[in-house]
């Protein structure tokens, strides 16, 4: 089964290739997108997706979102009686997606291609692989999100000699990828990015504005941050369509946010888009005019402000012909299909780059404890790649050489990511006292380090170190333990998810409203609970439809 998963900061999606065409798999609610939100309910059971998202406002302490931003870190979230790492939370989302796919396809799903931001480093990548392991998925390949999107666009156009510049502004990350399609070859020239810039930051900017407005207006009581966040999110969405939006912050305070206000609020964020773009262009040695298409991917690129800014930057209208939210999942599925040697894609080859430099620590004569970084594989080299450099001992009577492998761009290793080390004895005095260090990095993210002392023709010693998906911070033991722990947790069954979402939504609305509306809401909720307890399918379906209609109407009335 050729499955591709886009594990996003705010939303995730899963796609499958059937009859040579990638298609999206809907979740239990019939949506293409599953919110990447995890929560626990009052019984200590886990909620994933839309249900959890609805509870973000009503139960901010029992719900987490945007955990992808801290992938590969040691941060833990407390949810009720449990503690979770970002890997574990992601694995819950992946497990939910997997369940959706299994229900949709009627078979078990064990393998998948998962997309990651191009600018994720090895620790973040290996955290993603661990998350998949915890969800019972084997990752056949990690694909860079912009590359996945480019695959879909490229195969859609099938235009030879076409250069794409993909700008992927997702919920929490920004990636720039420059690539070219020629003679059936997708060649990525360079990738650059900012791991801490995404649509989420735009929402936070609006939230801060709202908070300041509440302070200056000295309104009776400022709403909670979670509530302000939801308002900000809503404002952001409305402004992609409308010129202005009215926000009822508290019953006494109503604010109007125009598109111009929004633009000036978020300008500092927009300006930050320039740096990775510039850096990618410089690495590839190309000018903005050299590209046939500037493609926008990622939900945040729906914002008119972003489109306008990019349009101005490149002096052309950026392209967004395919749904920016789901194109990455489709691309990941396409990649899975390419790996499985699908007939339709046999004449297509894709080469990607490694956006970070790989190298070793070398002696710093000025500050002995602050070692310098010497890159062996420079960034933006096409993988698989193999490079060799020769190094010499610092002291004449040195017995061995310590090879410490790092990833990053800083001149000092202390700012880079440590991947592993090995020691190699040096030849006796009188022989050529040098070592050749060869780095080989392949498409599955496996780094092989071969160190040969002496000359290449007459090696005296040789050592080999394989850094497989980089050990990261979770050891195999940790993964086993986490697996055992996750197995004991109860996740809500998939079947009655729709009912739960409705109830969670009603609960959120209850918290946000006052007086009569509250009374009406609780009446409707009680009624729906009664319908549910009847356990008769047709009655539940009917009751659900009525309840949903009522809630829809209630909500539209509220925002007027």
């Amino acid at each position: 089964m050729e499955i591709g998963i886009d594990l996003g900061t705010t939303h995730s999606a899963i796609a499958v290739v059937r009859n040579g065409q990638p298609e999206l798999i809907p979740n239990a609610l019939g949506h293409w997108l599953t919110p990447s939100v995890v929560g626990v309910d009052d019984n200590g059971e886990l909620l994933v997706g839309q249900t959890a998202r609805e509870r973000l406002i009503s139960h901010p302490n029992l719900t987490v979102h945007a955990f992808k931003r801290l992938m590969g870190s040691d941060r833990e979230w407390v949810l009720g009686a449990h503690r979770f790492r970002a890997e574990e939370l992601s694995s819950l989302v992946l497990a939910a997606l997997k369940a959706d796919a299994e229900a949709f396809l009627g078979t078990t799903v064990t393998q998948a291609v998962i997309s990651v931001p191009a600018y994720f480093n090895e620790a973040q990548r290996s955290a993603t692989v661990h998350a998949a392991q915890l969800a019972g998925l084997e990752v056949t390949r990690l694909i860079n999100e912009p590359t996945a999107a480019a695959l879909v666009y490229g195969l859609h156009d099938r235009q030879d000699d076409h250069r794409y510049l993909i700008l992927d502004l997702g919920g929490g990350t920004f990636d720039v990828t420059l690539l070219e399609f020629f003679d059936g070859v997708f060649e990525v020239h360079a990738s650059a990015g900012d791991n801490q810039l995404g649509g989420e930051d735009f929402t936070l900017a609006v939230r801060d504005w709202l908070r300041d407005a509440c302070k200056t207006k000295k309104s009776t009581k400022a709403p909670t941050d979670a509530r302000l966040y939801q308002l900000a999110e809503q404002a952001k969405r409305v402004l992609t369509q409308e010129q202005s939006v009215r926000l009822t912050v508290t019953p006494e305070l109503t604010l109007t946010l125009t598109r111009d206000d929004f633009d000036s609020l978020t300008q500092p964020l927009l300006l930050r888009l320039r740096e990775p773009i510039m850096s990618g262009l410089q690495d590839a040695g190309l000018t903005p005019a050299a590209f046939d298409d500037v493609v926008l991917v990622g939900g945040a690129t729906r914002m008119p402000a972003v489109q306008k800014f990019i349009g101005r930057l490149f002096r052309r209208i950026p392209r967004q012909t395919l749904d920016p939210d789901t194109v990455v999942a489709l691309g990941a599925a396409t990649q899975a299909s390419m790996l499985a040697r699908n007939q339709a894609l046999e004449d297509i080859v894709m080469t990607d780059v490694m956006p970070y430099s790989l190298g070793i620590a070398v002696h710093n004569a000025h500050q002995v404890t602050n070692k310098l970084f010497e890159p062996i594989i420079e960034r933006n080299q096409t993988v698989p790649v193999s490079r060799v450099k020769t190094f010499f001992p610092v002291h004449e009577d040195q017995q061995e050489i310590l090879v410490q492998v790092y990833q990053g761009e800083s001149r000092y290793v202390r700012n880079n990511l440590f991947l592993g080390d090995l020691r190699i004895p040096l030849p006796e005095a009188g022989q050529q006292r040098s070592v050749d260090i060869r780095f080989t990095y392949d498409t599955s993210g496996l780094l092989e380090v071969i160190v040969i002392s002496g000359t290449a023709r007459e090696p005296v010693h040789s050592e080999r170190l394989i850094i497989e998906q980089h050990p990261g911070r979770m050891s195999p033991g940790d993964i086993e333990a986490a697996l055992a722990r996750l197995a004991t947790l109860k996740v809500h069954p998939r079947d009655n998810q729709i009912n739960r979402v409705l109830l969670a939504r009603a609960e959120r609305l209850y918290e946000q409203s006052l007086g009569e509306s509250r009374a009406a809401l609780s009446k409707q909720m009680d009624h729906f609970h009664q319908v549910l307890s009847s356990q008769q399918d047709d009655m539940i379906t009917q009751g659900r439809e009525a309840f949903q209609r009522w809630l829809d109407e209630f909500e539209t009335r509220r925002w007027q």
């Binding site: 070859v185 300006l271 320039r274 410089q282 903005p288 002096r315 080859v349 698989p384 001149r411 498409t443």
Partner: protein
């Protein structure tokens, strides 16, 4: 296909193949040796392709002559940035440049402290276009280069433009990646700006032979020499005072030691503060300014004036002493006292001369003392 094969054999094309042929050969080969299945072979083909491509760049697409022996990658001509980057509306850009430069001038007038100038510059409409950024890259860098002077402080160099701000601008313009290109520009020396950029990015130990000579070795010598000068002044003053007024020596010693401590540590502290993020705080900034001025005063007023006074006093006193002892010695022969006096005067004069030489060579050389610069640079 072995590792040592030349690229045209790996790619199976004639050595004088044009770019199009090379690319076709490459795409045909990698469909057979896919990156996933045959990483080793792919890496070799890729390497050959990259060499071929960089060689083909220097040839027209239909070559008349067979492959000439050219280095794989020639250094780019100095001003590539402005040559390859199209500058479509020159009139427009002149205005933009004037605008940006006036913003930079405002920034300069605020002593490079007013951050709003930078924020305005970053958000300037002209810089919302990538082509314009590329076209304006060079003029902005040369403005910065003209205005980035290193202020000489006792323990190290301090750039007039804060290095963090240089790094911030570099993030927008991307000079760092063109450092090698810019280093070939004739009559322009960007070393100091790049030093600042690297320093601002946290690479404080950035090594460059020229900079090592200019900056890294300088402060060490200077701080020692300055301390030496001060110490010398203290000792001679003490001697003089104790000669004429034995009781005042102790008080004078404490005063001089205090000045020495201020001199040595004040500058050090000021530099540390200036480079830390703390200097954005107004109180810290004022304190740094006070230290700077104390420092400036000590270095350019107190030390030279004391040195001159001491020298004058010593020469006067010494001449009188020598004259007197010679007159006395004419009658009674040379006394031990007069020999001691002779030695002392010689020592003091040579010490003051040494200190003065150090002051001129190391203190004045790179400061902004205008007359010295004109004198020195007109001569050389």
């Amino acid at each position: 296909m072995s590792r040592s094969d030349p690229w045209w054999q790996v790619l199976d094309v004639p050595p004088d193949a044009d770019k199009r042929t090379i690319r076709q050969a490459y795409s045909r080969l990698i469909k057979i040796h896919r990156p996933d299945d045959a990483p080793d072979t792919f890496a070799r083909i890729r390497e050959a392709y990259e060499t071929a491509r960089s060689t083909a760049v220097h040839r027209p697409d239909t070559p008349k002559t067979p492959l000439s022996r050219q280095p794989a990658r020639e250094p780019e001509p100095p001003q590539t940035a402005s040559v390859t980057d199209p500058t479509p509306e020159p009139g427009d850009l002149t205005d933009a440049l004037t605008d940006l430069l006036s913003l930079l001038e405002d920034w300069k007038h605020s002593g490079f402290r007013d951050e709003t100038c930078l924020t305005q510059l970053e958000a300037h409409p002209a810089l919302l276009d990538l082509n314009n950024i590329a076209a304006l890259r060079y003029p902005i860098l040369s403005w910065l280069s003209d205005n980035t002077l290193s202020r000489r402080t006792l323990t190290g160099p301090s750039l007039t433009v804060p290095s963090t701000d240089l790094a911030r601008l570099d993030r927008l313009f991307g000079w760092r990646r063109l450092e090698r290109t810019y280093s070939d520009v004739p009559d322009q020396d960007f070393t100091l700006v790049f030093y600042g950029i690297h320093r601002g990015r946290g690479n404080t130990c950035y090594q460059h032979p020229q900079i090592d000579r200019m900056i890294d070795s300088r402060p060490r010598i200077r701080s020692i020499s300055a301390a030496g000068v001060t110490l010398m002044c203290v000792v001679t003053l003490l001697l003089l005072v104790s000669l004429f007024q034995p009781g005042g020596a102790i008080g004078a010693m404490w005063v001089m030691l205090g000045i020495l401590a201020l001199f040595t540590f004040g500058g050090y502290g000021a530099d540390r503060l200036r480079d830390s993020g703390l200097n954005r705080h107004p109180v810290v900034r004022r304190w740094v300014a006070v230290l700077d001025w104390t420092y400036f005063g000590l270095r350019h007023v107190l030390v030279p004036v004391t040195a001159l006074l001491i020298m004058a006093g010593l020469v006067l006193a010494g001449s009188w002493f020598i004259l007197w002892s010679l007159l006395e010695g004419y009658q009674t022969g040379l006394s031990t006292d007069s020999i001691l006096a002779l030695v002392m005067v010689t020592l003091a004069v040579s010490a003051t001369l040494w200190a003065g030489k150090h002051y001129v060579v190391h203190e004045l050389e790179d400061t902004q003392v205008a007359w010295w610069r004109t004198l020195r640079y007109n001569r050389s």
